[in-house]
């Protein structure tokens, strides 16, 4: 049961009755007991505990308990007074006095725990003052009822008053301590033993001092102090009750210390002693309690403070460890950034414009050939290594960057530096400008990348590309009556330039020079050799008709200028008019001839050692053969037929199988099929193939395209001669048609307005014994040409049956017709 529940007013009737009965019974029993200690007659005692009980009852249960008190007091007084009226009056006094005392205590804010000095003070002041009421009424009643004489009123009053007051001072705290003083939890046995021992000691001492005649009663005071100091009200209240009880008992029974002296003297001694005991106990206990509470509060606040300190320390250590790990992470990122910069060869920098402070990353220093952070950077120091030609550019860029405006990315710039060791590096700089709120330049940040290697690689790549382009013809010349196709497949494992090449040139005499070759090795050196060989071959091909002689001169060239180079090559000169060809082979795989029937054979003749390994320029041999219309000559490099671990024979046989399986394919298709059938997915060596096939011009029509240049007229006449022969034209009429066509083409080349560039389109046709030659150009003929042009036109008209000239926006078309076998000149001669 908590104190709060006890203090609350329980309105339940049962509880109220129980309270009343308990209080009444306690009052009565205490009264009967104390009456045995009466000093005056039978009803005035020096210690009247019921008053203490009544005060506590009023404090605990409130005023409403008064009937129980009053009734109990009446019952107590009734037998010891002479009339019921006197008893009632005494009972009324005995009821009102504690009620007033309780009321006074409540008014001053008394705490029932008596744990403050002011509570002790309150009870010490309230008890005697309110007990004036009961003493006056009680003593007055005794006098009025003639129980005592009026002369004895003063002493009776005094005894009554002190008895009541002592009852309150001694008993009330004890009861309150029983009711309210909480037991401390977990009280140790040692402490309990101490309490019991102390009470026993107090009892013994009290008995001892009261049994001697010496005035040694003050000896109990230290013990009371001990009780108060060690156990506060819980110890001091019972101790005070015990001591007062024993003293009172001793006084009443006239023990040694009270043996002598008058009643008043004994009374005074006893009450002074009791008062001293009570005051000492209350005040000391209250003081100790108060001090202890203050100490507890202090300890508590100290503990709280300590806890706060501990908490804060913990927080701080957490903060510190977080900061440390953040710093660690930061350092780690900085290191990663530095590593990344080093790998990418990218440095970064910052320039605080207003403070003129420049910072460089470690890689910036390395790029410039310094040790990282070798010295503090400044703007002038930063541009110190820039080569003079580029320095002006840098300064201009900076000047342009430092104009007010918005945040912006600056143009990328490339410049060169010369390190202190003399090496030159190419750098690419990127930068951005940050401005302040007013748009004034605040800082420039940027990166610098060392692109020297990149530039070098790009240059090498460009050179290789250029060489590659020069090695392989972008397109094969269009030769009437000859179909050609070529393929080049680079290696898939090595992106570099390979060693294979081919070329087709139209020689001035209308023949074709055809070459396919392979230079040992790869890369730029091989490419460079190929380029030189190709150009040299072109030059020699113009001068020499013999393939063996051309290869011999190449051999001389290689021996003289390209020491230790080795190359294989097939070079042949093909006459489109006859289909005859002469070839020489310098250590190269033999060309394959595929007849129109599908049968094929390799041209094993004309074979000599490779260029660079031959005995001398004159050691090359050549051989001749013939290609009939519809048959095919296939030239190729070893990559086509060589496979790792396979004998070359297998490759050569496979190639024959493939061409046999595709007898009627056009050359482009044939090339594709050969590559698809023979090449593995992984091509370790590059491959070139070149196919050539004479085709008949005698079909229903042929188309010739030639450059509009005088030098192209001779090859054209070769083609025309072959055509005229194939359509069975006679020698004289062939010559006349040849001249007429030559005049038409010469006019088209010489006379169109504007540049003579472009091409002529010539269509040859035969229909029902009549030939038709159409020459188209992109220009416009002059209406009447002086001199030669006029002669030409007149000659054409003389030589042909009909000559039509149509001049339009897109060019001029000349249409020549003549019936074969007629003999125009003979007829004209006759008409003449």
């Amino acid at each position: 049961m908590g104190r709060r529940q006890l203090a609350s007013r329980d309105t339940s009737l049962h509880y109220l009755v129980l309270q009343a009965l308990l209080v009444g019974a306690a009052y009565y029993l205490a009264a009967r007991l104390s009456l045995r200690l009466a000093l005056i007659e039978e009803n005035v005692t020096p210690l009247w505990p019921p008053t203490g009980i009544a005060v506590v009852a009023f404090l605990v249960f409130g005023r409403r308990i008064w009937p129980a008190i009053a009734l109990a007091a009446f019952i107590v007084n009734a037998p010891i007074t002479f009339s019921p009226l006197a008893a009632a009056a005494t009972a009324a006094g005995n009821t009102v006095a504690p009620m007033v005392a309780a009321e006074l205590l409540i008014r001053v804010g008394f705490r029932k725990e008596i744990d403050r000095t002011r509570d002790a003070m309150a009870i010490v002041l309230a008890a005697p003052s309110s007990m004036l009421i009961s003493a006056t009424i009680g003593a007055g009643t005794l006098v009025l009822s003639d129980a005592i004489s009026a002369r004895d009123f003063a002493s009776a009053w005094a005894v009554w008053w002190t008895g009541d007051a002592m009852g309150v001072l001694v008993v009330a705290p004890f009861l309150l301590s029983l009711l309210y003083f909480r037991r401390r939890k977990g009280t140790s046995w040692a402490r309990r033993a101490e309490a019991c021992g102390l009470l026993l000691l107090i009892t013994l001492v009290s008995l001892a001092v009261t049994r001697t005649t010496f005035g040694l009663m003050f000896l109990v005071l230290p013990l009371l102090g001990w009780a108060a100091w060690r156990f506060q009200q819980r110890g001091s209240a019972p101790a005070a009750l015990l001591v007062s009880g024993i003293a009172t008992w001793a006084a009443v029974h006239g023990w040694d210390v009270f043996r002598d002296g008058a009643l008043f003297e004994k009374m005074l001694t006893l009450q002074a002693f009791n008062a001293t005991v009570a005051f000492t106990s209350f005040f000391f206990a209250a003081l100790v309690t108060e001090r202890m509470r203050d100490r507890d509060a202090l300890e508590q606040s100290a503990a709280l403070l300590e806890e706060r300190v501990r908490q804060r320390t913990k927080e701080l250590s957490t903060e510190i460890s977080e900061r440390r790990s953040a710093e660690k992470r930061l350092r780690q990122r900085e290191r990663q950034l530095a590593d990344a910069q080093q790998v990418a060869r990218v440095g970064s920098w910052e320039w605080l414009v207003k403070k003129d402070r420049v910072t460089w990353s470690d890689e910036m220093y390395r790029i410039h050939g310094y040790r990282p952070q070798e010295f503090p950077m400044t703007f002038e120091k930063a541009v110190e290594l820039v080569v003079p030609e580029d320095l002006e550019l840098i300064r201009q860029n900076v000047a342009a960057a430092l104009t007010p405006g918005k945040d912006r990315i600056l143009p990328t710039s490339e410049y060169r530096i010369r390190r202190t060791d003399g090496t030159e590096r190419v750098l690419r700089g990127k930068a951005a400008l940050h401005v302040d709120a007013a748009g004034e330049p605040l800082r420039l940040v940027g990166t610098v990348q060392d692109i020297t290697e990149e530039r070098r690689a790009e240059r090498l790549h460009r050179i290789a590309e250029t060489l590659q382009r020069s090695l392989l013809p972008d397109r094969l010349p269009a030769v009437p009556g000859v179909s050609m196709a070529a393929r080049y497949v680079p290696t898939s494992t090595d992106a570099d330039v390979g060693g294979d090449w081919f070329d087709v040139v139209q020689l001035p005499n209308g023949h074709l020079g055809v070459a396919i070759g392979d230079v040992a090795g790869h890369g730029l050196r091989a490419a460079s050799t190929m380029g030189q060989l190709r150009m040299a071959l072109r030059a020699y091909a113009i001068e020499e008709n013999s393939p063996a002689a051309v290869i011999g001169r190449l051999e001389l060239l290689v021996r003289t200028f390209l020491l230790s180079e080795m190359a294989t090559l097939v070079y042949l000169v093909f006459d489109p008019e006859s289909g005859a060809f002469t070839f020489a082979n310098a250590g190269h795989p033999s060309p394959l001839v595929i007849e129109a029937s599908g049968e094929s054979h390799y041209l094993a003749e004309g074979l000599s050692p490779p260029i660079g390994a031959a005995q001398g320029p004159d050691s090359f041999v050549e051989s001749s053969s013939h290609l009939s219309p519809g048959s095919t000559l296939l030239l190729f490099t070893d990559g086509l037929i060589e496979r790792r671990r396979d004998p070359i024979h297998d490759g050569l046989a496979r190639l024959r199988d493939v061409v046999a399986a595709n007898p009627d394919s056009d050359l482009d298709t044939l090339c594709e099929r050969i590559l698809a059938s023979l090449l593995a997915k992984e091509i370790s060596d590059d491959v070139a193939i070149l196919a050539l096939r004479p085709i008949s011009l005698a079909g229903s029509s042929s188309h010739i395209e030639m450059p509009a240049e005088p030098r192209a007229l001779a090859p054209l006449r070769h083609t025309l001669r072959r055509w005229l022969r194939e359509i069975d034209a006679g020698p004289q009429e062939s010559y006349e048609i040849l001249v007429a066509c030559g005049e038409a083409c010469a006019n088209a080349i010489q006379h169109p307005y504007g540049a003579a560039e472009g091409s002529l389109q010539i269509d040859l046709g035969v229909l029902a014994g009549e030939i038709e030659v159409v020459v188209r150009d992109a220009g416009r003929w002059r209406p009447s040409s002086p001199g030669n042009g006029g002669n030409g036109l007149r000659l054409m008209k003389e030589l042909m049956d009909s000559v039509e000239v149509e001049s339009g926006q897109k060019g001029t078309v000349v249409r020549l017709r003549r019936r074969l076998g007629g003999g125009v000149l003979a007829e004209r001669a006759r008409t003449n």
């Binding site: 005088p710 007229l713 001249v739 030559g742 005049e743 002669n791 007149r794 000659l795 030589l799």
Partner: protein, 110 residues
Amino acid sequence: MRGGVCVLRIVGEVDISNARALAEAIEGAVPNDATEVVVDLARTTYLDSAGVQLLIQLSERLKARRHELRVVVPDGAPVRAVLELAGLSKVIPLESAIDSGDQASAPGVP
């Protein structure tokens, strides 16, 4: 060259691609003391209006230098028919062969 007669043989084809160069070569080849210049077209395989033009202009220029131009073309040659058709025979006499008299003619004859 024998005596005052200079014989020039044109081998191959004549068209606009080489006519001008050929004319210069012939003029350069004719010595000043030659009285006659004979152009032999027996081995000329092609000759069109550019060639005819060349011969006419050559004749005029040689006349100015007091040389006489004669052109020799075999009778059956295809070139001859075209030359006749082009009207060259009206300007320059076409002969079918180099006669011995020419070859025997002595230099210095006016």
